[in-house]
Amino acid sequence: MNIIITGLITGSMLALLAISFSLIFGVARIVNIAHTAFYMVAAYCIFSLTGKFGLNPVAGMMIAVVVVTVFGLLAYKFLIDPIREHEAAVLIATIALAMIFQEAVMLIYTGDYRTVSALIEGYFIVTGVKVFYQQVLTFGVVLVVLALLWFLLMKTKLGLAIRSTAEDREVANLMGMNDSRLAMITMGISVALAGFTGAVLAPLTVLSPFMWMEPLIIMMAVVVLGGLGSIKGSFVAAYILGFTEALVVFMIPKGAFLKGSVALTIMILVLLLRPEGLFGISFEEER
């Protein structure tokens, strides 16, 4: 039971992060290392909004998501957009960005571990295991957001534009889609989702300025495993790795140390068999 709950929560969190990460990669070919740093910033925003200013947690979450989105758009406009042609430079720029966020958070909140109080207190017991209402709430909200995202991508014009740009940027551009504006919008959505993940997850985890590193790695593993740019792949791979982590932690002694290793080993094994990931389409050689 514990395994299922942890697996579901981790899986949903990873799914949200990975999908938003692949969105921006698909549309703009930006590997945003700072993605989980935005998630950390959102969590800290909530911490100070609810803790220091005594705001309603839901309002705090909203404000946090907005703040993070603004940060993301500013970063995109002034840092990433000018150097988008140089793939390596973008990678470094986002690493540097993540480090700036980490250091800024460290300066403002110090390196101490912080916690955010839950939206709803209490728990119920299923087959001898405590299930906190907060966990159920998080899971539900994540599912709703995923459904909304699916609707946005599949049923709206904007979604069509995003998907077609991800598939072939040049042709989409020729068909009259404004490439750079679309990249901006996608960056906004992507960062907002990262911020949202941070917001819903904040009550369940411990906040520290280094909390972006671990999910980053696993998120990358999810994205690569599912196939870069594939939303469905990210979704499936997120739950696969989420459950693997949960299984390893609960079944193997000293598993907490190994959870990253096992998840990444699975990723590498799958890649050996299918170099483009589970659901990826192998991109044609771009020359």
Binding site: I83, A93, A96, V224, L258, I268, L271, L272
Partner: protein, 346 residues
Amino acid sequence: MVAAGLYLRRFYTIVRGEVLVLPSRIIVALFFIILLGLPLISQNPYLIRVVILTSIFAILAASWDLLSGFTGQMNFGHALFFGVGAYASAMLNVHLQIPPWVSVPLGAAAAVLTGLLVGIPCLRLKHTYLALTTMAFPIILMGIVFVLPDFTGGELGISGLKRISSSLVGNYYIYIVTMLVLCTIMWKITDSHTGIIFHAIREDELAVKASGINTTRYKLMAFCLSGFFAGIAGGLYAHYMRIAGPSTLEVSMSFTVVIWAVFGGIATIYGPIAAVFILFPLLEFVRFWPEYRMLIFAVVVLLILLYMPEGLIPWVRDKIEKECPRCKIRNVATRKTCRVCTAGLD
């Protein structure tokens, strides 16, 4: 006596004709002289320590450049080679009592094997997939290190390694000379036939294949060579710090290497080395705001990327030197005509 005089004269002609004509060569020569002469001026242990650590990391950054800058195989887990080199030489030295001058090369050999092990699966991956996959390897190894604390020391690492040399200056010269020799070798490799093939693989792998070159072999070779140099850096680091800990495998370690290399300019070898010699001592000596150090570091890197995406050193080099449009030989920017073919420079 006459022969010696002749050699001296020839040496002088070479220096005047080949070294003093270009500012970049003068800088490199000065760099060698200053590094080799430093202990004669100051024997401050802190200064020496910083220079030694800088040169270890210079080897590491240059070895990343050899693999990722030249062949374009973006390796985001370079800490793996460094960590393997450090742990292997530490284990050999502590558990088996093997002296440093054997354990460091053996550690490098272990890193070469790791390079093969990582390189073979990675041959099938390209671009971003490769970058993200290579990032995973050091983390996997770190998990293994934590699970086997009896063997690897777990979180504390293996400590109590022997120093390579007990005297301060002796130690300094061993590290500096090793660094200079290894970096020159790397530069020579990239300047050779092999280096040209590496360049070509980055630019257009298909075309290289079409020219009848076995790119798989060259890519694996790049992995092994890079692993070798990074492994030596790891072994030297372990013996200098007298500890091999999990910090050598951290994600931030891999990232820092990439930042150094890109900051200095990739596919140049001298770029990453120069970058380490600028950034690392800067971070060490900027003591006035210790808590802002990393912040400043990241901001500086961002600014450099925004204004000179090619990296700092190629940018500076293009400012002080011009390439002759006719014979492609480099000239000082102040010259009006090429120093070899007298074609006009614009």
